[in-house]
Amino acid sequence: MAQARYAVFATRMALTIYKGKLKGAIKGHSLLKRKADALKIKFRKVLKDLMENKMALGGTMRDANFSLSTAKYSAGDFSESLKESVESASVRVRIQEENVAGVRLPVFKQQSEDIGSSMQLLGLGKGGQAIQKTRQSFLSALEVLVHLASLQTTFVAVDEALKVTNRRVNALEHVVKPKLENTVSYIVTELDEREREEFFRLKKIQEKKAKAIEAAEAQKNAESLVEAQLRLTGQFTNEASEEGASMSMGGDNDLLY
């Protein structure tokens, strides 16, 4: 796996291109790492908040429920008329966005309008005060709950974003960067090899040329030497042939040629 590289023709242009890509990958990797770190910090904070608030929830709900029991005692069972009186919600929740390290995180903001008229009537009847108190305690509980819901949604979103970012960091670190590095070193090796081949070929050619020149020179020298010798021996041969001719004609039978 360490030898994986991109399939390219080893040219100088490819070298520049891939060097550029490698630089990009390195820069991207360090940027993503910083994003991941920022997310990790946010994540830990959200976790802590979430735990603390959830633990505190028990107490808040207990108070609210206690108020309710008191109200039921004073006002009787008002749940039926309450249910009947429901029309349009006066308490709603707006979703806002918080931006952390480039990630959009949802945050809930509670918003209230005026309580519907039919509900107001409840506060006026028997035990109305107790009912009002109950409403207040449940409203406080609601605030806590909306905050909790915010934390929960943020938690889920950060968790997901962190996972994705870490995946990208790892991909760059363990796959893309090594591949690019291998490609660059491959191209460099190929180019060097080619240069050496060129060099070697040139040298060989030069050698051959030099040899050819030498050989030609040697030829020339040899030829001129032979010519000179011939010229010299030619004189002797002429004299020798005259003598030889006379000798053979005279007939000295002792000489055997």
């Binding site: 976790l47 802590k48 735990m51 309710l68 949802p106 509900m119 409840l122 709950l145 949604t153």
Partner: protein, 135 residues
């Protein structure tokens, strides 16, 4: 990339699945909403569960509330959540990859059942992620 979370212009609703007391208490605050124009059989955003309520109805209420696009927060008594734990966990699976996990589910204690973090589907994940670090 536009915002994915906006939901309703005028603000999103909360929904409650709980016992009578819990629902009564929250209705007092004004979170209740009834829309007769909705096509679901459940026209309101609250559902009361008592000992006689069949589980299928509870599951149905849960499904209706989680599929609506105008509900941002779903409050549910934990002892009721325990009864439909399967459907709850299914919902969490489905919402896993999305970056728009509406509604978010809040498990709350009731008068009769105190809150137990070990049963809460979401908080068990929080605990798992926090656990090793606390040591």
């Amino acid at each position: 990339m536009g915002s994915r979370f906006i939901g309703l212009q005028e603000g999103n609703l909360l929904a409650v699945i709980g016992d009578e007391d819990t629902v009564t208490g929250f209705l007092l605050t004004g979170v209740g909403h009834v829309d007769m124009l909705r096509k679901e059989s459940l026209k309101s955003n609250f559902f009361i569960v008592n000992s006689k309520t069949p589980q299928s109805q509870v599951e149905n209420a849960f499904r209706v509330f989680t599929q609506r696009d105008d509900i941002a927060i779903l409050l549910i008594n934990q002892h009721i959540a325990n009864e439909i734990r399967g459907v709850l966990d299914e919902y969490y699976e489905m919402v896993q990859g999305r970056q728009n996990p509406l509604p978010t589910i809040l498990e709350i204690p009731s008068k009769t059942h105190p809150y137990e973090m070990d049963k809460d589907s979401l908080m068990t994940r929080v605990q798992a992620l926090m656990g090793p670090r606390e040591l």
